[in-house]
């Protein structure tokens, strides 16, 4: 959901944001702790500071160390068929968390939200939800540990009971403050927030977590969702539930850099999971904003401005090898490497990623989506 007054434009000062929101920095000691507890190298997004802020993540880790597991909750608003790499980032990270901690995951597809906020019919948003589910599954989630649900399918029963419990704790004025509703907004929007809040509570999923009312929840999300989940954390203790913990990411930059905004209607602002190798190559070569100098001579003299260079930023997301990335930053920053070479490297990395995704996506059948979305027990979800 988008929040009141939230404009993403220009360079973002993440330190200010953390101060303003009151969440915490994910520092190196936490990352090392994750490394220790999971016995595997921390995910590239942790190492590179993509996921950089949190609330109560250390409590999750404390509980985990004691033998108390947790579950993951993330979601997607299926507003379009075309997913781009920025959309994949939270899912890639969530998959890592699922594998590293061996915990279950619920994924909410807010088809009702998109139906209400966009000009989509109920049927169309349901269709998009299923299509998006395929791309999500293609990220490699384990079906024995993952429950995907769409609001139109699942709201009701215990889930709805929690929605009412939450709704009773949030005044109209409060949601106006958070989401900026006006008298002109329809009542569907006003009553939507609890739908996105209650997956944080295990009792919303009796077929999964009955008997485990104390189970904690960790929510990987983008930092712009923080004000929203603050509302949920505020309500939780009042209805006797644990506050969900958050682990938050920075924004995925648009191809055109800080001045550009990634938009589903501008195909050149992002790399899509359906792009062909040629399209990826063209987009990076033509539209990626670079910090390289105008001419080869200048480049060798001054080096590239790594602060604004998009190819390097993208590589820091998707190039796993720390040593390789450092080398590129050094050479490019000092001018010994040209923009062309960095772009070439990026094109290779992205093409491999996208092709791999396409292959995985091709293997996702409608039956598989049905299986992921079936209300069924997950007996081995913690093993």
């Amino acid at each position: 959901m988008e929040l009141a007054g939230w404009q993403v434009s220009g360079k973002i000062d993440y330190d200010k944001l953390i101060d303003k929101f009151g969440c915490q920095r994910l520092d190196q000691s936490l990352i090392d702790r994750v490394h220790r507890l999971t016995g595997r190298p921390p995910h590239v997004f942790l190492r590179r500071g993509v996921f950089f802020a949190h609330r109560d993540f250390n409590e999750i880790l404390d509980a985990y160390e004691r033998g108390d597991k947790f579950y993951l909750y993330t979601g997607r608003g299926p507003s379009s068929e075309a997913l781009h790499l920025g959309h994949l980032v939270p899912f890639m990270f969530t998959k890592y968390l699922q594998d590293a901690f061996k915990v279950p995951l619920v994924i909410q597809l807010t088809d009702d939200e998109k139906c209400m906020w966009k000009t989509l019919s109920v049927e169309e948003s349901q269709r998009l939800a299923r299509e998006n589910a395929k791309d999500i599954i293609a990220c490699g989630f384990d079906v024995t540990r993952t429950f995907i649900f769409s609001d139109f399918d699942y709201v009701g029963g215990a889930f709805y009971k929690n929605m009412v419990r939450v709704a009773k704790c949030v005044t109209y004025n409060k949601v106006v403050g958070i989401f900026g509703f006006t008298g002109e907004d329809h009542i569907g929007k006003v009553s939507f927030p609890p739908v996105q809040a209650v997956p944080s509570f295990p009792s919303s999923f009796p077929h999964l977590f009955s008997g485990k009312e104390n189970l904690r929840c960790l929510i990987p999300c983008a930092i712009d969702q923080d004000p929203y989940f603050r509302m949920t954390r505020d309500v939780a203790p009042r209805i006797g539930y644990h506050k969900p913990a958050l682990i938050e990411s920075s924004f995925f930059p648009a191809l055109q850099g800080d001045t550009g905004k990634m938009s589903a209607s501008d195909p050149n602002s992002a790399i899509y999971v359906t792009d062909t190798p040629k399209e990826i190559k063209d987009k990076i070569n033509r539209y990626a904003f670079t910090g390289g100098q105008d001419t080869k001579e200048k480049q060798m003299l001054y080096g590239a401005n790594l602060e604004v260079d998009i190819p390097v930023k993208y590589l820091s997301f998707f190039l796993d090898d720390d040593a390789e990335l450092d080398y590129i930053k050094q050479e490019y920053g000092s001018g010994r490497m040209l923009t062309f070479d960095v772009k070439k490297q990026l094109i290779e990395v992205l093409t491999e990623l996208v092709e791999r995704h396409k292959r995985a996506r091709a293997a996702v059948t409608d039956e598989m989506v049905d299986a992921f979305m079936a209300v069924r027990p997950l007996p081995s979800m913690f093993s």
């Binding site: 075309a82 594998d99 019919s121 049927e123 169309e124 269709r127 599954i137 490699g140 989630f141 384990d142 079906v143 024995t144 209607s265 195909p267 899509y272 359906t274 792009d275 062909t276 190798p277 040629k278 399209e279 796993d320 791999r356 396409k358 292959r359 995985a360 996506r361 091709a362 293997a363 059948t365 039956e367 598989m368 049905d370 299986a371 079936a374 069924r376």
Partner: protein, 321 residues
Amino acid sequence: MGYTREQLLAHLQELRINFTKYDHPVVLTVEAQAKYVGDVGSALSKNLFLKDKKHRYYIISALPETKVDLKVLSQRLGLGKGGLRMAPEEALGEILQVPLGCVTPFALANESARNVSLILDQGFKSQESCIFHPLANDTSISLQAKDLNKYLMSIGREPAYVDLEANPRVGKDQPPDLAALVPSESIDLPDSTEKIGSLESLPQHHIPADPKPKEVKAKPTKAPAKVEKAKDKSLVGSIPPVPFSDAGQFVEEILDKTSALLLAEITGDSIKQHGEQLGSVVSKTIRKHLSAELKNLAVMFKNTAYTEGFSAGIHYQPKRV
């Protein structure tokens, strides 16, 4: 004889339609066209010439930024999924009597195109004026949508404006919403060897073996012919099937990848470099590079097996007692 640009322009004048004519070098793509007439204050158009499996033809004329999904359109027309393809090159000359890169609503003036269906982007209606090729690649004309309508009516065609980005559900209870736009007759293209004499003469500016006008997503350029194949790649269904339900194939895939990496790593140089340690070096490399990928393959294998079990489970018939 194929309708010419001059005839078209004369006709427009007869109808007292105001248009502005721009001459420029031959252009084959919207992008190239934009260089010359991109900022005259008129909306450019991208024009696709399509055909379905029953040899019926369609012109889709849209704003460049409108997303045109052939799969969706195909369903909305009632042609099923994947029923629409780009029309072959010969069809351009035979039916529309225009050269490559010159698909335009005006081509419907030709007798040979009388059964071609024209679908217009409703986005045109909100533009002040729009630009089309007047049957030639080295000219563009801009005119108001209502004047385009006037022209189309004058040649006996009802203009059909459609929200091309809409994606309504098509199913048992929801008939394809654009079914009425499917031509009532198909057009049989004679064999290329027989075409001499039986049809109107070929257009003046025939440019062979060049990019087909084509879009699937909202791109401002018409991509080269290779994109036809590439477009298929982006249609997920046509990626070569992956061996996720066959254990044998699955193992072969793993061994193929491992072997390939192994062979790549064991070279004269690497043997010299590492000597006896080469084994453990290569082993580490294999783990580093393949671990994530193979794990992903394994997850998909597991998910596929589970799905098959799940399917069996929901269709399970309990024993009769």
